[in-house]
């Protein structure tokens, strides 16, 4: 703690408290300081993390806090929060089915629950509940199975009947001819977290512990000799490193290729939408899987919603019209009230879609090079556990038990983690 105070004093990072808020409020908010430094890169570090997104910054935070490794740089090609951590729909949940996934995502949920105290940063964690609606007996069976798997792993889950769903979301179309609402699976501890604040909070915490966050500094190559990584070539020159960690989901194929690796990944795009702000209408996160639509309401009042991925390889950070139509139709089928709202914005983000729909946190064939990739469309909720397990992997060169299933060789071993049972077809996961 004293080291933390020293570093904080050195770099002028102030802790947030009721006192600091009051003092700054009455002094015109003129004395807030930047919450992280903007250093030039040093010639070498113990660890260089490529990718200053949520996962890379969380990794830096946990490397410093849990493993005492602070001689670390995070290199980011743009600015902090410019990638997927600022482009997602902010949902957190741990309602998974398979043993390889459930303990990992539940650990992430627990880290979310303590995140703001851990970071001393308001990330607006809102455990408003995540509700998956169903429409038929077989779907009810599938959700009962999922709920039972969750409870067997100590995760909260409640199977709701039609009237219990009505109490939560009275405005949905319960008697839709094709998809009548028969009930739902509710995870009360799920909800939303302010995505930008997650990036900023992790960045501030890592910086205050001595991590250098270097923005506008793309990695353009790796120096590898005799099968061992020696550092990263960047736009700001060569940075030596004992260990290099890749955390660049969306572009993992391109970055890993610079180290000679080939991955079981296709890049796809997914879109999200936000409407004009309205008074409170929906206080849970609701998903309509059968209709490819999910929705929540932001604290500003806009409905935030999305649907399926675009379905074909893409490096364009935007989508096409058919998915927009599909999402709008899903929204209208589930909650016709949405038809009166105007969409303010839609945008797209890039996904690493793996061949089984599950992520990769593993060593690579290059000594000293570590890989965190393949988050598909679900990376945001995983941010803290991903950083936690990746930091463990980097510090110990051995996988964390919670990420033991996320090995790169699982495809060759036939040990895939296919939540949807779709096979090696990324656009179906």
């Amino acid at each position: 703690m004293s080291i933390e105070r020293d570093v904080a004093a050195q770099y002028g990072v102030m802790r947030y408290s009721l006192g600091s808020l009051l003092v700054n409020a009455v002094t015109g908010n003129r004395h807030w300081k930047p919450i992280w430094r903007e250093p030039e890169p040093k010639p070498a570090y113990d660890v260089v993390i490529v990718g200053g997104g949520g996962h890379g910054l969380a990794t830096a935070h946990y490397l410093a806090k849990e493993h005492g490794i602070t001689n670390v740089a995070v290199v980011e090609k743009s600015y902090i929060g410019s990638g997927n951590v600022g482009r997602n729909t902010t949902i957190v949940r741990s309602n998974y089915l398979l043993p390889g996934n459930l303990p990992f995502y539940e650990h992430s949920m627990k880290l979310w629950e303590g995140l703001e105290q851990d970071l001393n940063y308001n990330a607006m964690v809102s455990q408003r509940g995540v509700l998956n609606v169903f429409h038929s007996d077989p779907q009810r069976d599938a959700y009962a199975r999922r709920g039972n798997a969750m409870r067997l792993h100590g995760v909260d889950a409640e199977l709701l009947d039609r009237e219990q769903v009505r109490a939560l979301v009275p405005f949905v179309d319960f008697d839709n001819a094709r998809f009548p609402i028969r009930g739902g699976l509710l995870q009360k501890r799920g909800g939303t977290v302010r995505h930008d604040a997650v990036a900023w909070g992790f960045a501030r915490s890592a910086d205050s512990r001595g991590v250098d966050i270097i923005q506008n500094c793309a990695a353009i190559g790796f120096r590898i000799e005799n099968g061992r990584v020696l550092g990263v070539e960047t736009e700001k020159g060569f940075i030596g490193a004992k260990k290099v960690a890749l955390s660049v989901a969306g572009n993992s194929t391109r970055v890993a290729a610079m180290a000679g690796l080939r991955l079981p990944i296709e890049s796809h795009a997914v879109q999200a939408f936000v409407t004009e702000g309205v008074k409170p209408v929906i206080d849970v996160v609701m998903t309509f899987g059968a209709g490819h639509f999910y929705v929540s309401q932001s604290d500003k009042g806009g409905l935030v919603f999305g649907g399926d991925i675009e379905g074909y390889n893409s490096y364009a950070q935007r989508g096409n019209l058919p998915v927009i139509e599909d999402v709008a139709e899903g929204g209208m089928a589930l909650m016709p009230v949405i038809g009166r709202l105007r969409i303010l914005r839609s945008w797209g983000g890039l996904l690493d879609m793996t061949m089984d729909g599950s992520p990769i946190i593993d060593l690579t064939p290059v000594e000293g090079l570590y890989l965190n990739a393949g988050w598909c469309y679900g990376g945001f909720k995983a941010t803290p556990a991903s950083g936690w397990c990746f930091a463990h992997l980097i510090a110990n060169s051995a996988p964390h038990p919670l990420a033991a299933a996320y090995r790169l060789d699982r495809f060759a071993r036939g040990a895939v983690i296919d939540e949807k049972g779709m096979g090696a077809q990324p656009n179906l996961h």
Partner: protein
């Protein structure tokens, strides 16, 4: 994005179903020795940022399988061919 089917002409994206990378080749052999080739065929992809040769099925049209060459950064379509031997289905 619209795809110019050689049989039907230019049609909207909704008429087509995506299958994926058209450059991977299925190994001939089922020997244990060909297992790495199978793993590569089933799971590993070049995933280029740029021109990508990919299979599309004109599922709401003539049911032809097509090989489309498309830029994954811009969605510009450079070429559309039949996936078979270049003949009409």
């Amino acid at each position: 994005m619209r795809i110019n089917c050689p049989y039907c002409g230019e049609r909207a994206l909704e008429e087509f179903t995506y299958r994926g990378d058209a450059t991977v080749t299925r190994p001939d052999s089922l020997d244990a020795a060909s297992e790495p080739a199978w793993v590569d065929y089933v799971y590993f992809r070049d995933n280029p940022a740029g021109r990508h040769r990919e299979h599309w099925h004109h599922s709401a049209g003539c049911h032809a399988w097509l090989v489309v060459t498309r830029d994954t950064r811009t969605h510009e379509i450079v070429a559309v061919e039949f996936a078979g031997k270049g003949k009409l289905p």
